[in-house]
Symmetry: C2
């Protein structure tokens, strides 16, 4: 790899001038500028980001923390993030935390060690150790002190319950995600409001995790616990699909015997038959908007609202 010194030598100027020409900072005569540009082209030079980062104490990298990249919600978030940060000249260090707090802490340290410009996190607990880097939460709210982007969970919960209420719901079971994930509770609040307004009774069924592997087990338990369940508001599409499958395995028809409402933005839901009703979460937009807010903060622009809603 060529360095700025090679360029300086070839262009017959000092490294300082090359640097100025490169960054269009400070004074450079047109003549020098042209010589430098020619040399850069000739040598196929591109600046070493590591050296830049060392001096500036800030790289063009952004950390992205995801709970589980195998959950199809998050690749979409990642895609939104990637599109926006690329637009702004940043790249991503991917941190797939797999709901493991140790991995999460390790990643946050790595981010610091690599002078990331900022961090985007869709992991619940992460706010604590991120003190020093600009960061934005995705799809989660931890406190109103932090920047975050999320879909409107309360309304989502409301919509899910309304969908259920409309079609002779019978026994209703509402799945609740891990207690620690606050938007799961907000969603629940939305659902509960509607169910109570309609004088429907309901049962809660807690799941510990949003991970794919445990969904199968949850679905089984749910039917053991509530054999007469007629309507289920699932905590995400993975659970919803798994529940439908379990229902079919038990000889129940969908939606006549059991109706299921999913919750996520999983492109596969659309391909399912019989169709799964689902409350869309704008995964891509959450990522894109979160990245936008983060980049603005990094570049020093004021971001008015700390908590942003999507759609």
């Amino acid at each position: 790899m060529r360095t700025i010194k090679d360029v300086a030598k070839l262009a017959g100027v000092s490294v300082a001038t090359v640097s100025r020409a490169l960054n269009k900072s400070g004074y450079v005569s047109e003549k020098s500028q042209l010589k430098v540009e020619a040399a850069i082209k000739e040598l196929d030079f591109y600046p070493n980001e590591v050296a830049r980062s060392l001096f500036q104490k800030k790289s063009k990298l952004i950390g992205l923390l995801l709970p589980d990249i195998a959950n199809p919600f998050f690749p979409l978030v990642a895609k939104g993030v990637e599109d926006k940060v690329n637009e702004m000249g940043y790249k991503l260090i991917l941190g797939n935390v797999q709901e493991n707090p140790l991995k999460e802490a390790e990643y946050i340290r790595t981010f610091a060690q690599n002078n990331v410009a900022g961090v985007l996190s869709a992991v619940e607990s992460s706010s604590k150790d991120l003190k020093n880097m600009p960061f934005v939460m995705l799809d989660r709210i931890t406190s109103d002190k932090e920047y975050s982007v999320h879909s409107d969970d309360y309304q989502g919960g409301t919509l899910a319950a309304m969908a259920v209420s409309e079609r002779s719901p019978g026994q209703v079971v509402v799945m609740v995600g891990p207690r620690s994930v606050s938007n799961s509770l907000v969603r629940l609040a939305g659902s509960v409001k509607v169910l109570e307004e309609n004088n429907l009774t309901y049962q809660l069924f807690e799941t510990e995790s949003y991970q794919f592997d445990s969904a199968q087990e949850s679905a089984h338990q749910l039917f053991e616990l509530f054999p007469n369940v007629k309507s289920i508001i699932a905590s995400n599409d993975i659970h919803a699909l798994t529940i439908m499958r379990e229902a079919i395995r038990r000889g129940l028809s969908i939606p006549s015997d059991v109706q299921v409402i999913g919750y996520d933005d999983n492109p596969y839901s659309k391909l399912m038959y019989p169709s799964l009703s689902t409350i869309a979460q704008p995964a891509y937009q959450i990522g894109y908007k979160g990245a936008e807010i983060l980049c603005n903060r990094i570049e020093g622009l004021k971001v008015k609202e700390k908590i942003s809603n999507c759609q």
Copy 2:
């Protein structure tokens, strides 16, 4: 962030000694070692990877090039990669190329600018510009000069065709992925062999892309072109699911009127009803094994076979 200087001062030794203690390289008296360790703990010091990388001309980062992270095959690959590189102390820079050669070239440059230790790529064209970095292809073979990991496509094609042949196939259509993707052709060869052995006639249907968005259009075209199709060997699960959906939309039953064989390792296929037959590709393992080979090469271990099969 603390620096090695702070540690040196607190421990009462030179920075050189701290560095040696940190890396367990060269001579350090036990006494010094202990003083350094105590200081490190006291200050909560961790080395700046950027400075390291600048000196070593090599970072602890690995570039990962993916054609489309929204295609559920690739998050699984990424997960396998991530698990292995983490094990070996590396982190990932994510490059989602979206089948765009410009983005790809940009990412390869970024990787170089950040002194990545190596690159893993599931993108067809990428080998050219990667000359100087160790790299391994995932799920693709470009030439026998490059390291690569892939599933056995020929056998996969064989299996798909056998599954079709077993159940009164009627008119068979074999979807072929983009011509540029060589393993798509290898798969086809496997299928063709079996179909011809069984004296079955078949039609080819080419698709331009593995992208999600175009699948819908392909499915529509397929039925327009081959209205009497009875068996379809789809080029991946996204196409398979989309085709099933299109079939249903057209009032056909599955699998009695139309049978579809998918090809990928998409966890959602399993949740489908009516069940989609699918030839599993070990996405996670491809990622994991590719990362293993790359890490071994980076660490200077000999890797015997250039082309590795998975499962």
